[in-house]
Amino acid sequence: MSQFLTKRILQMLVALLGVSIVVFALIHLVPGDPVRVALGTRFDQDLYDMLRERSGLDRPFIEQYFAWLGNALTGDLGLSFRNSQPVTSLVLERLPATITLAFAALFVAIVVALPAGIISAVRSGKPLDYAVSAASQVGISMPDFWAGVMYILLFALTLRWLPSSGYVSFLESPIEWLRHLVLPAITIGLISGSVITRFVRSAVLEALNQDYVRTARAKGLSEWRIIRRHVLPNAWIPIVTVVGLQLGFLMGGLVVVEVIFAWPGLGRLALTAVKDRDFTLLQGAVLYIAFMFLTINLIVDLIYVRLDPRVRVS
């Protein structure tokens, strides 16, 4: 087990290195550079050259990368081009908001998807199944920005139940934290939940069709017990994969929702960094997002091993 972990952690580091190279290469291939954007329309060649030299942007690409990498290995992700703040602190101060939202959204997604998917599979072909399917299709077809705007207009503006935007830290006020969290979490959660519902239904249906379910029935077990003890433990395996993928998606796909709900998260930070061509900041934000994603992956794999004895032994 520890050997497995060590191997996976090494692989993770390699992947992170790969991510940093890709980010670096991409951001340098993209037209425009941070100085150009900082100057805006008030362009001035001399000033431009001066600022480029000062920020080291005039050095060769490879040299810049290794300089950055050298510092990164010591834990220093550099300073943001735009405001000279340490990237690490800029990212870290936004991390809690993003993690909170991602997990809250996943929570909503799972709370919705598991019962819906299981009921849909067990009642396969019945009206309830069609109702769940139709609802999940609508959920899948709904762009997040559209859903978000509708919830804001309904719950914040018309009903005045919840705030329209912003983030309050849990430590400051748990109630306000929750109130601000609800709408963005539901916006993403219901969409993710719609996707997961389909996979849960498919996985449960698949498991329900297995011979061992017939065996369990022949033992005289109740349907509910069969689903709980025999179907779900098998269905978990594909479901966990999808949930892991979804969480990865959530981590990065928060950009739009963070914009709509003025949620001070990493997605928005990364978007700003792309627009500003602030590659140190982007590098930092993406590395953290990638790190979270890879960690989730690792956790998913560990859960996998826990869930599937076949993988455990071989």
């Binding site: 692989q11 390699v14 992947a15 790969g18 991510v19 890709v22 980010v23 991409l26 951001i27 291939l29 993209v30 037209p31 299709q137 609508v138 899948i140 077809s141 709904m142 762009p143 997040d144 920005f145 559209w146 705007v149 509708m150 207009l153 996707v195 389909r198 996979f199 498919s202 698949e206 329900l208 069709n209 011979d211 017939r214 029935r217 395996i237 594909p238 994969t241 993928l245 990865g248 998606f249 981590m251 990065g252 796909g253 928060l254 950009v255 739009v256 997605g267 990364a270 978007l271 792309v274 982007l282 993406v286 997002i289 990638a290 994603f293 890879l294 992956n297 076949r310 993988v311 071989s314």
Partner: protein
């Protein structure tokens, strides 16, 4: 069920029904799948004949008649520049379907083989391929698409590549996961130990058994690809105006949600109908392709 009985009695001649015909028959026996196929066919027809069907041009600007609700002359109302929403929804079908098909086709073409190879060979090949996929996948999807588009330049073709690339790792992972499970099956182990060629095992034995999750993912991804176009258009990187795409129309309509909800609702409904059709066909295909559900009677008999 997987091992053929060896007594002669079991070797009674099979009904001469080819596999593809059988799949087709199962598929068209599924009413929802047929409905989906019909709607998709109509959509494709609409896309082909768009210019002929659309009552107005896509750039017929009419500021005095902007933001008017559905009426006899403009069934779907007009947008913020007074353009006919119906015409734009019709013409947008072309771009949106293209985005869906080509982007997902790209992801399938790269993701599935990668997943097959990684899951079948395991070991180093697996590690390298999946780390590459991890790298691609651990980027926030929209940011990756933005970066790709910024490098390649905006426009619909590049948008398709960007979306396709974003979805590639998903197909790779899902395929790989199923391949690993299937590879443990006795018949695969048997085939391998008998020295069957890898290519043959992968394509004849493994691929058919991992198609179900891939199909589910494909139909889902078609929906998401069309919506990704919306997100990219939202950021100004998708279809170049004034050419309409459903996603772009939705993104624009969002700003007029209160003044002119029809600007977003109709393209939204178009996406919904398309996505549902894809999913119906996908579900039907999955049932039809699943080797465990070869005949209706058998599947019914055992589905309990």
């Amino acid at each position: 069920m997987t091992v053929a009985p060896s007594t002669p009695m079991e070797r009674l001649p099979e009904k001469p029904v080819s596999r593809s015909r059988e799949i087709w028959q199962t598929l068209i026996a599924n009413r929802l799948a047929v409905a989906g196929l019909v709607v998709l066919a109509l959509l494709v027809l609409m896309a082909v004949l768009a210019e002929v069907i659309a009552p107005f041009g896509i750039n017929d600007i009419d500021i005095p008649n902007r933001l008017t609700g559905p009426s006899m002359s403009h069934w779907f109302g007009t947008d913020d520049l007074g353009r006919d929403v119906l015409s734009r929804v019709i013409i947008a079908s072309r771009v949106s379907l293209q985005v869906g098909f080509i982007a997902v086709g790209f992801a399938l073409a790269f993701g599935v083989p990668i997943g097959l190879v990684a899951g079948y060979y395991r070991g180093k090949t697996d590690s390298i391929l999946m780390r590459l996929m991890d790298i691609l996948f651990s980027f926030p999807a929209i940011l990756l698409a933005i970066a790709i588009l910024a490098v390649l330049g905006p426009g619909i073709r590049n948008a398709m590549v960007a979306i396709g690339l974003v979805y590639t790792p998903i197909f790779a992972r899902i395929t790989r996961g199923s391949v690993i499970v299937v590879s443990e099956e006795v018949y695969i182990r048997a085939a391998r130990s008998l020295g069957a060629r890898d290519g043959r095992i992968i394509f004849r034995h493994i691929l058919p058994n991992v198609l179900a999750p891939i199909i589910v993912q494909t139909t889902l991804s078609l929906a998401f690809a069309i919506l990704s176009e919306a997100a990219l258009s939202f950021l100004g990187l998708g279809v170049q105006p004034p050419n309409p795409a459903w996603g772009r129309m939705l993104a624009e309509g969002r700003n007029f949600f209160q003044q002119a909800p029809w600007m977003g609702i109709f393209p939204g409904v178009a996406i919904l109908v398309t996505v549902m059709s894809f999913n119906f066909v996908g579900d039907g295909l999955r049932d039809a392709l699943d080797p465990k559900q070869k005949s209706v009677i058998e599947s019914r008999g055992q589905s309990v």
